[in-house]
Symmetry: D2
Subunit: 297 residues, 4 copies
C-alpha cells in the first residue's frame, strides 16, 4: 500500500474511535508514525502495525515533522499541548521550529486562537482542521476536513490529509475550521433531534415511526444522515458511532461561540438541553441518535 517516497515523520496524539483508524491509514500510506494516548493500551493495534509509542506528548512533538492531535475536548487538548501542572511534558514543548501542527479535535475557536498565538511564538505553523464523517469515514479514509490557517502550509500537508480524507475545505484563517465544524455539528444534532422529536410525536399519537420514516424518505428532507440514523432510532440501536457525550460537548461549544458573539441560537439551545437530559439519564455510552431516548425509553 505504501509508495515508499513518503518522508515526513508524523506524530499522532489521541487514539480514540477516530484517531486509531486515522493512524492506521497513515501507516498504510507508508508514513513513519509516533503516537501517544492517555490510556497507552489504545495504541496496541497501531504499534503492532509499525507505529512507535512515545512516553509523553513532548516526545511525540520532538519525533515528528508534522503533529496531528485528535482528542475529545478542549481540556484534553490543553493538557497534551502544554503538559500537566508545569511539567514541561506537553507536545508544544517538543515541537521543532519549522514543524507543522494540525489539530483535528473539535474545540473552541477561542482555544484555536490561543494555540495559534503559542505556535507563532515558537515558529510552528498551525492549522485547525476538524473533521466530519464519523468512525466509518475515518476507517475508509473518507473524512471531510474543515481547515483554518495558512494556504501554503495546507499545500504542504495536503498529501498527508488526503490519506485520511477525500475532501479538504480551506475556509479561512485559524479558527475558521472550528467555527464551520461547530456550525455543522449543530446542524447534524438538530437534524437528528428533529427526527427524534417527530418520531416521539407520531408514536404517542398511536402511529408507527416506520410510517413517518417512509414518508420522510420520499420527501425533500431526506438526507444520508437520516437514512443512516433513523432506522437505528426506530430499533433503539444506539451503539456509538459518534458518541452523544461528544455531540453534547460540541453543542456546548457552538453555544459558547454564539453567546460570546451575541448571536441567539434558540433552537440549538433547546436541543442541547434534550441531549443533556439523555446524557444525564444514560448509564452506558450512546450514539448521539440516542437523543431518541428523551421520548422512547
Amino acid at each position: 500500500m505504501s509508495t515508499g517516497g513518503e518522508q515526513r515523520k508524523i506524530g499522532l496524539i489521541g487514539l480514540g474511535l477516530m484517531g486509531r483508524p486515522m493512524g492506521m491509514n497513515l501507516l498504510k500510506a507508508g508514513y513513519s508514525l509516533t503516537v501517544w494516548n492517555r490510556t497507552p493500551s489504545r495504541a496496541d493495534e497501531l504499534v503492532a502495525a509499525g507505529a512507535t509509542l512515545a512516553k509523553t506528548p513532548r516526545e511525540v512533538g520532538a519525533a515528528c515533522d508534522v503533529l496531528i492531535t485528535m482528542v475529545s475536548d478542549p481540556p484534553a487538548l490543553e493538557s497534551v499541548l502544554w503538559g500537566q501542572d508545569g511539567q514541561k511534558d506537553g507536545a508544544l514543548d517538543g515541537l521543532k521550529t519549522g514543524s507543522i501542527y494540525i489539530d483535528s479535535s473539535t474545540v473552541s475557536p477561542a482555544l484555536v486562537k490561543k494555540i495559534a498565538t503559542a505556535c507563532q511564538g515558537r515558529g510552528i505553523r498551525f492549522l485547525d482542521a476538524p473533521v466530519t464523517g464519523g468512525d466509518w469515514g475515518a476507517r475508509e479514509g473518507n473524512l471531510v476536513f474543515m481547515i483554518g490557517g495558512d494556504a501554503e502550509t495546507l499545500r504542504e500537508v495536503e498529501p498527508i490529509l488526503k490519506v485520511m480524507g477525500k475532501k479538504l475545505f480551506h475556509l479561512g484563517p485559524n479558527g475558521a475550521g472550528q467555527t464551520i465544524k461547530l456550525a455543522m455539528n449543530a446542524i447534524l444534532a438538530l437534524q437528528v433531534g428533529a427526527v427524534a422529536e417527530a418520531i416521539g410525536l407520531v408514536t404517542k399519537a398511536g402511529l408507527a415511526g416506520e410510517q413517518l420514516l417512509e414518508v420522510l424518505q420520499a420527501s425533500m428532507a431526506r438526507s444520508g444522515l437520516i437514512d443512516l440514523k433513523a432506522p437505528l432510532m426506530l430499533k433503539g440501536d444506539y451503539k456509538p458511532s459518534f458518541p452523544l457525550r461528544l455531540m453534547h460537548k460540541d453543542l456546548g461549544l457552538a453555544l459558547d461561540l454564539g453567546n460570546q458573539l451575541g448571536v441567539a441560537l434558540p433552537t440549538t439551545a433547546a436541543a442541547r438541553e434534550v441531549y443533556s437530559y439523555v446524557k444525564g439519564e444514560a448509564k452506558e455510552d450512546l450514539d448521539y441518535s440516542g437523543v431518541m431516548r428523551f421520548w422512547k425509553k
Copy 2:
C-alpha cells in the same frame, strides 16, 4: 391530454398557491371540475380552462362525486364545510350520500376527527390527505399524499390523486395523514431553521455563509431541501414557495397535538417562536426560509 374515460365529477374548494395547479392538473386529465374560492377572481384561470365556478361551498358539494378541499387553516376549513353563521351554505350541506370527501389542507387531527364524525353521520366517505411538495410539486403533479382513512375509499380515488401526486402513503385511520403531515412539517421547519441558525453563527463569526454551505453539501446532512433553500437564504430571496405564515401555523398545530398528548417537543417549540418573531416583524409575505431574517436583517 385527457383520456376521455374519466367520469367522476370533482369539486375543488380553495384555489391558492396549491389549489390552482392541482385543479389545472385535474382539468388536464379530463375531469369535470366545479370550484369555489373565498376570493372568486382566483378561479379565473381554472374557469378559462373549463372549470365551473360555484356561488357557495354548498353548490360545489352538490355538484360533485368527489370533493377536494385545499384551504389555509382550520378556521377556513370549518367555514367552508359548515358554512358561515348557520347559513347552511357549507360544503357538507351539499354533499350527496355516497360521495367521497378528501381534505388536503393541513389542519389538526382533532378537526379531522370532528369532520370524520360529521361525514359518517351523512353517509359520506372521508379521507384526510394532506400533501407535501410545495407549489412546484403541485404544478408538476408530483405531490406526496399522506392519507388517513379507509383503504377501499382510497382505492376508489387513487386515479384522481395520481393526477396530482406520484406518491400516495396510506398511513392509518382518519387523522393519521394529518399527524404524519404535522410531524413532517416540523422536520422541514427544523431542518431549514437549523441551517439558518448555523448561517447566523458563522456569519457573525466573520465567515461567509457560502463556506458553510459548501461543507454542508459535502456532508451526510445534505438534503434536497437544503440544496433548494440554503442558496436562497444566502441571497436573501424569500419569494414564497411555502409561505412562512403557513409553516408557522403548522408548527402551532404540531405543538397543539404534542401538548394534547403530553409529548414535550422542546426544539419544535423553540423554533416556532423564531418563526413567530419573523412573522411579527415582516411586512411582506415570505417563504418559510425567511426564518433566516431572525439573524440576517
Copy 3:
C-alpha cells in the same frame, strides 16, 4: 350573613374547585343563585345551601339577571354558551335582553371577542373577568378580578364581584381581562418553573433544595408564590390547588395569543414543554408546582 337588600338573581355555570366556593360566597351574601354543572353532583353542596339546580345552561340563562361562568377551557365554554350540536340549550339562548354576562374562566382573547359579538347581537352586556388567587382565594372571597369591558356595566356588578374578590382591575375593552390574565399566568408558571429548575440543578450538584430556598427567601426574588409553592415542591406534595393541566392549558393560550400577534415568547414556550412533559407522565392530577417532577421523580 345576607344583608337582605340584594335583589339581582345570579346564575353560575361551572362548579369546580373555583366555582363552588364562589357560589357559596354569593349565597352567603344573600343572592339567589341558579347553577348548572356538567357533572350535576358537584352542585350538591350549593343546593344544600339554597341554590337551585337547573337542567341546562339555557335554563340558568333564563333564570338570572347576571350570569357568571367559571369553566375549565375554551371548548367547555363554547359548549355551555352555544349548546351542544345545535340543540339550542346554551346559556346565550336563555339570557334575556338587558342581562349581564360575566365570564371568569380563563380562555382566549379570540373567544372573548366572539362572545362579545354574540352578546352585542342579543342586547346582553358582557364582561371578561378572569381571576387569580386559587381555590384558597375563592373560599376567602379574596380573588383578584382582571376585567375587560364597559365601565358602566362593571359599576353595576361591582357589589356582586366584591363578594368574591377584594380587588377588581378594570383593564380595558373586552379581551383586556383575558390578555392580562394569560400574561399573569405565564409569569406564575415561569416563576414556579424557575424555582423547580434551580432546585433540580442544586440537588443534582449534591446540595439540599432547602439550602437554596433559605437563600431565596432572603433575596429580592422572594414572593408569596415562592413561599407557598417551594416548600411543597421540596416535600413532593403536589395536591392540586391550581391544577397543572389548567396551567398547561393557560400557557398554551398565552402562546396562541403571542403567535397570533407575532410576539416571540421563547421562555414561556420552553416552560410549556416542561409542563407538557410532566402532564404526559403523571398518572394523577397534580398542582402546577408538580412541574418539579421533570427533575425530581
Copy 4:
C-alpha cells in the same frame, strides 16, 4: 468609624461596581486595606480613603492575612490568582501559609474546586463566597453571602464579612456557595425575563404594561425584584445596577454546570439566548432588566 480593635490586614482585588463599595465599607470599619485592579484608576477613591495600591496581585497576596477577590468572570479570576503567562505575579504566589482567601466573584464550581486544590497545596484556607444584593447592597453593607468551605474558617472571617453583608449562609463544602449563587441568578434572570416577556405580550396586544404591573403587584408573584425592575423596564431605563453582560455570563455558568451534571434546564437555556440576543444588539452597557429590549426596541 473604626473601632480600633481590628487587626487583620485585608487584600482586595477587583474594584468594579461591587468591589469599590465593599472596600469602602472595610476601610470605614477600620481595616487596613491593600488593593489591586487591572485599571489602576479605579482604585483612586479607595486610596484617597486610606487604602494602599499594590502593583501586582502577588503584592496584594503578600501584604494581607485575608484576601478577597471580586472580579467579573472565570478568566479574570484565573489571571489574578495564577498571574499572566508564567510571570509568577499572581495572588496565590504571594499569599502566606495560614492566610485565608475568600472569592466573592461569581465563577464556576469547577474553578472553585481547582482553586481549593491549589490553596490546599499551599496551606491557604479558602472560602467561595459569592454575593447577591447588587451595587446598592454593596454600598449599604447589605449583601447576602453564599458560602462554601470550612465552618471554622468562616467563623474566623465572620466579622469581616459582616462589615459588607448582613446575611451569611454557610451552604456546604467548597463549591456550594457558587452552586447556590448560580441557581439564584438563574431564578433572578428568569423572574425578570418572565415579566419582560409578559410585558412584550400585553403591549403587542394593545394594552399598557402598567396595567399588567398593577395586577402583578396585587398578586402572589410580587417580589422586591419585580417592584424594583418592572417600573424601570416600563420606562426603558436600563442604567446598569447588575449589568446584563454579567447576568448573561452567570446564566452560561449555570448552564455549564447543568450540562456537566446532565440536568436539563430548558427554560434557563431559552432565557439565556434572549439575553444573548440583547447583548449582541446593544451598543451600550445595560442592566439585565434590559432583556426587555428583545420585545421593546
